[in-house]
């Protein structure tokens, strides 16, 4: 009985986690560069205390499983929004732009709104810097080509300003999300690999969240939550009846 209750609870928790992912997606439906979280459910063995000492592989008849939600980031391409701003950068492809955060850690972003600081460094909206790019703060025209090469002109003289490093991953879905549109490699993301993404200056990448899809998912989550709650209530009633036997 306890085991079934745990099973129903695992179903409830899985749906709550899914709701959290949906909530985050809906909140960021207008955030440029946001990548939606989606996940799938998998079966989870719910062991009761009294079974922990029993070797599980020897049990006949099969187990009954609870469920678990495993979210992951979906790196599908978002639409490009023209902004006309010289330091708005978007990527087309699967790559990521390498950045250094305040602690000199390597982090990655899909692009975003950049600005120039007093020292002429290119700063991401999160505060992370683009390594190897220095632009004269007096520059009138800043140009970034499709490969990420930065040129700028001061009083008509064209200068090289460095290059944005665009890197890909074996499994982008395995990158850890730091918040503020930044990602860091994890054991799941694999080694950095060369990437041929196209750098688009003057564009921002729109969020890849589809509101319609999220709302459908929300309704499903709600219904499945209710079903699990019903199962839990039924178990509770049965338990109550068993204790009534002694009256």
């Amino acid at each position: 009985m306890l085991q079934s209750i745990k099973r129903s609870v695992s179903g409830l928790v899985a749906q709550v986690n899914r709701l959290a992912a949906i909530g985050g997606n809906i909140a960021n439906v207008q955030t440029a560069g946001h990548k939606r979280q989606a996940g799938t459910f998998s079966e989870l063995l719910v062991q009761s205390l009294d079974q922990q000492s029993v070797p599980l592989t020897g049990v006949q008849g099969g187990f009954v499983h609870g469920a678990e939600y495993r979210p992951e980031t979906v790196f599908s391409q978002g639409d490009l929004l023209p902004t006309g701003r010289a330091l708005d950068i978007a990527l087309v492809g699967n790559g990521m732009i390498e950045l250094h955060d305040a602690n000199e850690q390597v982090v990655f972003a899909r692009g975003g709104s950049f600005s120039l600081d007093a020292a002429g460094r290119l700063v991401h909206s999160s505060g992370a810097l683009v390594p190897g790019v220095v632009i004269d703060p007096r520059a009138q025209v800043i140009d970034i080509d499709v490969l990420g090469v930065v040129t700028f002109s001061v009083d008509g003289a064209v200068n090289e300003g460095g290059r944005l490093r665009v890197i890909g991953f074996m499994n982008p879905a395995g990158l850890d999300h730091l918040g503020e549109l930044l990602f860091v490699p994890s054991a799941n993301s694999g080694e950095p690999i060369p990437d041929s993404s196209v750098v688009k200056q003057g564009f921002l990448e729109a969020s890849n969240v589809s509101l319609l899809e999220e709302m459908t998912s929300l309704v499903r989550a709600q219904r499945v939550y209710q079903a699990n709650a019903t199962a839990l209530r039924t178990l509770d009633e049965m338990w109550e009846r068993s204790t009534d036997l002694r009256r």
């Binding site: 079934s4 129903s8 079966e43 099969g62 499983h65 499994n171 879905a173 039924t234 178990l235």
Partner: protein, 235 residues
């Protein structure tokens, strides 16, 4: 009462996995008790058998292998099977079979399931994408960056009832005959669990009532016994 409890336990597992891709619902059938005992004896268990026919017993939990609905998905590594068959997975525990097609690419570039088991090709080797674009055709052919790179190993079993579930809900086939599957593979799709929410809820209500009735019967017996004791006592 025990039967109603077990049914309820199985159903709670089904409901928890309403949204688990490729999940196959658990089912039990009721058998007449004397028949259940008879089969226990055949299986070589030596127990004294009662021969009442009015009681019922439960079969071992069975798996309902009916096809689940296919739904669109966002990931190229999500695969679904239409028709009878299973994906073959290599895990640390040995070969497993599953219909849960929510695969992903791991750090080494292999196609893996939710528990880290590797999807096998027909040559018995894991499918390795090495960062290339994965494409899977309906006959199970695997294309990487547009070039034919292998074939999925799809298994089927003439005796589905012989499959057992392991701790991750994947199927284990000890000593069963494996045949090639005729199922078609669909990329960018997932097979929904074959649990019907309405059916499970109705079954749960019914089970709850059966449990209640059984409880009343036990309580009535208890009262009868008490009466009998009163009659028998000398005052």
């Amino acid at each position: 009462m025990v039967i109603a409890k077990t049914r309820q336990e199985l159903m709670s597992g089904n409901v928890a996995n309403l949204e688990t891709p490729g999940f196959k619902r658990h089912n039990v059938t009721e058998e007449v008790f004397s028949q259940a005992m008879w089969s226990a004896q055949l299986a070589g268990q030596r127990r004294q058998l009662g021969a009442t026919v009015t009681r019922t017993a439960l079969s071992v939990p069975l798996t309902d292998h009916t096809q689940g609905q296919l739904v669109e998905s966002h990931s190229p590594s999500h695969l679904a099977l239409n028709g009878q068959g299973f994906f073959t997975i290599s895990t640390t525990e040995g070969v497993r079979y599953t219909r849960a097609g929510d695969f992903r690419i791991d750090a080494a570039g292999h196609v893996v399931d939710a528990h880290g088991g590797r999807l096998l090709g027909s040559d018995g080797q894991p499918i390795a994408t090495e960062g290339r674009q994965l494409q899977v055709m309906s006959d199970g052919a695997v294309l990487l960056d547009g070039n034919l790179a292998g074939q999925l190993l799809l298994a089927d079993f003439p005796e589905l009832s012989g499959l057992t579930r392991d701790v991750n809900g994947q199927f284990q086939a000890d000593g069963l005959i494996v045949v090639a599957s005729q199922a078609t593979v669909h990329q960018f799709k997932l097979e929904r669990s074959n649990v019907d929410i309405g059916e499970e809820i109705v079954d749960m209500l019914l089970t709850n009532r059966i449990f209640q009735s059984a409880q009343r019967i036990v309580a009535t017996y208890d009262q009868l016994m008490e009466r009998a004791k009163e009659i028998g006592s000398v005052r």
